[in-house]
Symmetry: C2
Amino acid sequence: MLKIYLKEKREIFEKYLQEKMTELKYPERLAESMIYSVMNGGKRLRPVLMYMIADIFNQDYSRIEDTAAALECIHSYSLVHDDLPAMDDDTYRRGKLTTHKKFDEATAILAGDALLTYAFYVISASEKIENSGKVNIIRILSDYSGINGMVGGQYVDMESENKEISFDTLKYIHSHKTGKLLKAAVELPLEALAIEGKQKEVLLEYSELIGIAFQIKDDLLDIEGDFEKTGKESSDEKNNKTTYPKLFGLEKTKEILNDYTEKAKQLIRENFENAEILVELADYISNRGE
Amino acid sequence: MLKIYLKEKREIFEKYLQEKMTELKYPERLAESMIYSVMNGGKRLRPVLMYMIADIFNQDYSRIEDTAAALECIHSYSLVHDDLPAMDDDTYRRGKLTTHKKFDEATAILAGDALLTYAFYVISASEKIENSGKVNIIRILSDYSGINGMVGGQYVDMESENKEISFDTLKYIHSHKTGKLLKAAVELPLEALAIEGKQKEVLLEYSELIGIAFQIKDDLLDIEGDFEKTGKESSDEKNNKTTYPKLFGLEKTKEILNDYTEKAKQLIRENFENAEILVELADYISNRGE
């Protein structure tokens, strides 16, 4: 059930995104590198999560698809910059050459910059969102993706290489580097659809739980997974990073992952009658790659 | 007269900007690198130009200072990324170490990303601009600073190194790489102050003329100026770039610069009675460094 849903929504989203990005034309090679970076074979977890929220509240996608495109542009730019030689120095991502390997380093830097900028253009120029909605979305998105969000998480992650770090620091990295954009994927459609109160609270808490689970699973995959499964080399070990398995060992890490997943599922089941898809998603996140 | 004005407004702006950026706290070293990149001893031409527009229409600065801060964050991030080893590979800017030399390359990449993101946060979170104004400002700013603006210009500039390029391509580079943000410095306050019609048209044309003049002068300074005057090494020659002097020779280039400057001045004098400051600014741009 979930697999079909994921595939279907991913296809709907990618069609929209691809169409949207045809408006990027010149400089040609820069546009090409931006499109290459975004059409990257990813699972589109964030946009699909946005569609799930819309489905739960029986809303069509027209009010959220520009925001989904923007969020994915930001996620994609962060991967492009993260892969650069001065950062993680990765050659492959999901089995494809990283942007700086496919093009060159300067192009990858500028493609990332242009994608980040384009994200805010897409929202501000959207014909489907009202002005107050646009402002709230841009405020949340820029907050969650900048120094107080994703970039802050990336920075501390990088700073922590070859160092012993505390569990608090590890939690900060996880909740910011990956967690904030996953939270955005839930919060932004709630914003667009003007959902408030208890339901919003529960869904935001759910997003935080699956964000942490996602990152713990990433740590596990990085150890257990091989190139074929993850499409990339083991960066954590290469960069000597503190991870859940390093702090707690493999067995205990799996237990912690399970706890987060169960808590996320329970929260949904207790508060929603029609959100089984979010329960399945929590399982999917903690089981992926298996 | 102009010199005092420039100094005074620069000080007003820097006080505002510095105060604003104290809200950036953690990760500490990332915040520090962002502030280092922005408090860079620049002339603050763009913010000051915004203040000039406000002065001409007798408006106080409260409605434009957040936008000025955002514009300067974008300008500053572009310098940080432009200076990176994979791009211009500069060690100094205005006599100070570039961000990647003062900190490190990865920090410079992330500081640039965070500054660009912060620009949109500052506008969207501003307490002084109404929602429709915010949306227009963000749309213009993201358009002028992304693939269709500054980043596009930087890309073609880079692509043109060690190559013969046409005069049209050179004009594209100039009007995008530098011109678009100078245009933004005029257009954004007009937007914030809701100025329309002939006056808007004239001021936008003026901004385009001084933008080109600015870039031609930059080409001249790069040849004539030495490290003491410009605070940086001659990058154009190092990177074998096509410039006005290379295409037209030194004397003809000075004539062209003069033509643009005179046209800009004339436009202001014919259409405004109280905008002598913009006439002086045009002269200042074409005479700086002398």
